[in-house]
């Protein structure tokens, strides 16, 4: 079952000063199956974050459209969009975006509270998810009292709060050391394999991408290449590195 479709997605930005157009992404067609674990890779400015924002309905394409679970996304109804983001999509950010004045438990409960869930029910779900992601011992603490890796696992737990089918992660390991990166990768794998969520990760990290089922490479706002894993993580890691070198060398050849 296709959980996400992008049809001829184009996004142009206008510079605030000279109003010049800058291309974000161009004519992107994409189909994502339910239960996929996909890495979106590419250099800075290749359009991967733009693509993720449009997939998360937090950015409007200049042309083209997206379908989530077969329904075309309309940007005219902000209430419906908010509900879609609340129930269908979970977000994980590089900078965690935890609210410092709320405890870890309250941060995790936040999407459920926004969705009008009962406090007791939300608390139970939070405790259950926190146990899965090994953060039970910190749920009474505040974000400034925990490490970066713990913060990201809290963010993952929060993304799961309303049990959405799609999890979008923007550079989830970007601010983490190798130990925390491993923990976060394990958590993302758990989301995909045990919770059966469709996970789409934008990353520069070939190691993280190597745990995915598929890697999509963007270049200059277009999909340059797609490669699939053969369930051998190390082999897939090597192929990802080779693809990056290959794309880079084609750029060098053009430049010379």
């Amino acid at each position: 079952m296709k959980i996400f479709n992008a049809i001829k997605l184009t996004k142009e930005y206008r510079n605030s000063g000279d109003r010049k157009k800058t291309m974000g992404i161009m004519d992107i067609d994409l189909e994502i199956d339910s239960g996929d674990f996909i890495a979106v890779m590419g250099k800075s400015g290749s359009g991967k974050s733009t693509l993720l924002k449009i997939m998360g309905t937090i950015d409007i394409p200049t042309s083209g459209y997206i379908l989530i679970k077969g329904d075309r996304v309309s940007y005219n109804n902000s209430e419906k969009l908010a509900m879609m983001r609340r129930r269908e999509i979970g977000f994980i950010f590089q900078d965690f975006y935890l609210i410092n004045t709320l405890s870890i438990k309250e941060n995790i409960m936040l999407p459920m509270i926004l969705d009008g869930k009962d406090g007791k029910v939300a608390s139970e779900i939070t405790k259950k998810n926190a146990a899965y992601f090994d953060i039970v011992n910190i749920i009474a603490k505040y974000p400034y009292e925990i490490s970066g890796g713990e913060k990201q696992r809290v963010a993952i737990c929060r993304a799961l709060s309303n049990n959405p089918d799609i999890i979008l992660a923007d550079e989830p390991t970007g601010n983490l050391d190798s130990y925390s990166t491993k923990k976060v990768i394990d958590s993302l794998l758990m989301l995909n394999q045990e919770y059966k969520k469709t996970v789409i990760v934008v990353t520069h990290d070939p190691l993280l991408a190597s745990f995915c089922k598929k890697a999509i490479f963007l270049k200059d706002g277009k999909i340059e290449r797609e490669i699939e894993s053969s369930d051998d993580q190390q082999e897939f890691h090597k192929r990802i590195l080779d693809t990056i070198i290959d794309i880079d060398s084609s750029f060098t050849e053009k430049a010379t």
Binding site: K11, E12, Y13, K53, G56, T57, I58, D59, I60, P61, T62, S63, Y75, S78, E79, A82, M83, R85, R86, R87, F91, F93, Y97, I99, L110, P111, L114, D115, R158, N162
Partner: protein, 232 residues
């Protein structure tokens, strides 16, 4: 009916009118009334300079014949009621006005501080509400949340300061043996109402402008495919 009473070098003859004895103010030394004399304003003022530090206000029971006899038979100084009332009221009004001015300055300063605080935290609030919108907070929830935050900032001090002001007024009122009259009470209540009204208008104005600015900054529904949430 008349009496001649002495105070230091002065010997003055007074006609004592009955109703003047209903409430008297005098010098109180230890627990007994001594040296009480009824004087006209001019004489009283000239004497006050010498005795100011020992002047106290006290109430004598209405038609207390023992006291009246004491006043008549013993060497007493009696101060005129209206003079003392004016004096006491003048002091209280001065204190009252001082508090009003200090209070007004404090309130104006607090508004200024609140305004600066809100504006300096604006970018942080934008980031927070952008993020909350991303995870599904709708416009109504955003408005409700901001209104709650603003209420806490603006209305809570009002909830605390208004009863405090009223309590201060009542304590002063009772301690001063009813020297406050309807005029002063009306002035106080009028001033309080104006402050509450200004505070309320300030709250409405800041809240409205903030919501408009925040909505504009958080959600940019540009025609032709703009960015829904900028820079996040």
């Amino acid at each position: 009916m008349g009496t001649t009473l002495s105070f230091e070098a002065l010997t003055v003859k007074f006609t004592i009118k009955e109703d003047k004895y209903q409430i008297l103010f005098g010098r109180q030394l230890s627990d007994e009334l001594t040296n009480i004399l009824v004087l006209n304003d001019q004489t009283f003022n000239s004497m006050l300079d010498q005795n100011e530090s020992t002047v106290e206000v006290m109430l004598i029971k209405e038609n207390d014949s023992a006291v009246l006899n004491k006043i008549k038979t013993e060497d007493m100084v009696i101060y005129d009621k209206t003079v003392l009332i004016t004096l006491c009221k003048g002091e209280d009004v001065f204190v009252f006005l001082t508090f009003l001015i200090i209070g007004s300055i404090s309130i104006l300063c607090s508004w200024f501080i609140l305004f600066i605080k809100i504006m300096s935290e604006y970018n942080h609030l934008i980031e927070k509400y952008k993020f909350l919108s991303i995870i599904g907070m709708n416009e109504a929830q955003r408005k409700k949340s901001i209104v709650s935050e603003f209420k806490l900032i603006f209305v809570l001090p009002l909830y605390i300061s208004t009863p405090t002001g009223i309590m201060y007024f009542l304590i002063t009122y009772f301690q001063s043996s009813s020297v406050y009259q309807l005029k002063e009470i009306s002035t106080f209540l009028g001033y309080l109402t104006i402050l509450i009204l200004i505070q309320f208008l300030f709250y409405i104005s800041v809240k409205k402008n903030f919501l408009v600015k925040l909505n504009k900054d958080v959600v940019l529904n540009n025609e032709g495919g703009g960015t829904y949430f900028e820079n996040i």
